[in-house]
């Protein structure tokens, strides 16, 4: 049994909230540069240059890449041999979000009473926390600030098994086409296939944590990713929706076994600013 102090968790979450909002990952920057070099549309090339310039300013000056500093989505992998001391785990995470969004001058975008009064909670809590128990004695924390513009374009369908592979492709491509310019393309398309409705959606979100450009290790799934990416980049939406070849930087798919009656498919779109940072304690 290894002890981890809750104060250390708070400190780490606060740091990750800021790092994620200020510094865009190298994988995303590389993908944007490649897209710029390959784009046929002069306006699209110009837009991609501006997104790269924006990322440079944000990282250098430590200001948010985007004013929408997101819902703080926090993934925890808790080793079964970890013992948290000094306070409770979720409390420590919430305090980290509160401190991180305060110290970093990040926008507080969370409202309580979502269908009625919509009152800003003023510190960006509560976070959306997904905890998993894993082997070992470490605690891995990932903070993913998720913007509203892309999250609002999420889609879920439970297809008939007869619709199969083609049904999955058509549903995902339509979701990206319908989203158009709203989610700040070029997007990363997170797809969850299988499980139950809730399982498919969390798989879609987790798929967004995979590095851009890294295929699913399963060849059959990697092939599906390539095919959907090609279809999506034929839509013509392009960077910011102004027209072009780069509607998505990647399609990341995660798969889970499902019920004999079901074929759940979830789509979770990520704007070009794919922000997430991870640390292990």
């Amino acid at each position: 049994m290894r002890e981890i102090d809750s104060g250390k968790i708070t400190e780490t979450v606060a740091r990750l909230c800021q790092e994620a909002n200020f510094v865009l990952g190298e994988d995303v920057l590389d993908a944007l540069k490649k897209a710029r070099d390959a784009e046929e549309s002069p306006l699209a090339r110009q837009v991609l240059d501006q997104l790269l310039e924006n990322a440079g300013i944000a990282g250098d000056e430590r200001i948010p890449i985007c004013q929408d500093c997101g819902t703080a989505v926090v993934f925890l992998e808790v080793g079964q041999d970890v013992h948290i001391v000094g306070g409770d785990l979720y409390g420590a995470v919430e305090e980290g979000v509160r401190q991180g969004y305060g110290q970093g001058y990040l926008r507080k975008s969370i409202v309580s009473q979502p269908f009625s009064a919509r009152v800003n909670t003023r510190d960006n809590t509560p976070a959306v926390i997904h905890a998993e128990i894993v082997k070992g004695d470490r605690l891995q924390i990932t903070v993913m600030p998720k913007g509203g513009g892309s999250e609002n374009m999420s889609r879920l369908a439970v297809l008939k098994p007869a619709e199969g592979r083609q049904g999955v492709i058509d549903f995902v491509v339509k979701a990206v086409d319908d989203a158009g310019s709203n989610p700040c393309p070029p997007v990363i398309v997170g797809v969850g296939i299988g499980g139950t409705a809730d399982k498919a959606m969390i798989l879609a979100k987790k798929a967004l944590l995979r590095r851009v450009g890294e295929p699913n290790p399963e060849p059959e799934v990697a092939q599906l990713e390539r095919e959907i990416l090609e279809r999506v980049n034929s839509l013509g939406i392009g960077p910011e929706g102004f027209g072009g070849r780069t509607t998505a930087l990647a399609v990341n798919i995660e798969v889970f076994p499902t019920h004999i009656a079901s074929l759940p498919v979830a789509v979770n779109l990520q704007c070009y600013a794919a922000r997430h940072k991870t640390a292990a304690l």
């Binding site: 997104l51 200001i63 985007c66 513009g149 013509g236 929706g241 072009g244 070009y272």
Partner: protein, 181 residues
């Protein structure tokens, strides 16, 4: 790149076409959906709006907080579609320009044509870059809405692109059609 001033003159709007890149200097007012809801409620009660909306440009934006010494934090556009339900009423009341990101409803496009208004896109997700064009920001109304309060911005060379012009042009439709395979 065309240089234009806000508040917008009818002659300037007349000349703009979908796809034109513009550099805006002058005054913009920020408003997201929560502020729009209040503006419409004020109109329905027959009250005056917190600012004279005639000829003005609304920027659909809620900034991140300014660090000490900064005018404003990151300041990029939010999705305009959430304002669609409110916009025709404001356009009828004299609003001329809107800046955001994403497609508008048929009702908004119709109001743009009918009242000779204009809709621009700013680069979504470029909040750090766009903030450099904002020289002054002051609170106008609804402070309790936090990031959704209405601000009066003074901008210089604010970069935007015409999406829906007063003649029915639509960059999102035209751009997509050009590159669709």
């Amino acid at each position: 790149m065309m240089e234009i001033r806000s508040p917008l003159e009818p002659q300037a709007i007349e000349k703009l076409s979908a796809g034109d890149q513009v550099s805006i200097t002058g005054v913009l007012y920020t408003a997201r959906d929560a502020a729009h809801k209040r503006l419409i409620e004020a109109l329905e009660r027959g009250e005056e709006l917190p600012f004279d909306i005639r000829g003005q440009t609304l920027y659909y934006m809620g900034p991140s907080p300014a660090k000490p010494g900064q005018v404003i934090g990151a300041a990029g556009p939010t999705t305009s579609g959430r304002m669609d339900v409110y916009s025709p009423r404001l356009i009828a009341a004299g609003l001329k320009g809107m800046i955001g990101k994403g497609a508008r409803s048929p009702e908004v496009k119709e109001a743009i044509k009918k009242h000779k208004a204009i809709y621009f896109a700013a680069i979504g997700g470029a909040g750090a870059l766009i903030a450099r064009a904002i020289k002054k920001a002051e609170l106008v109304a609804y402070e309790e809405l936090g990031a959704e309060a209405i601000l009066r911005l003074e901008v210089e060379n604010f970069p935007a692109i015409v999406v829906n012009d007063a003649h029915g042009g639509d960059l999102y439709e035209e751009g997509k059609a050009r590159y669709r395979i």
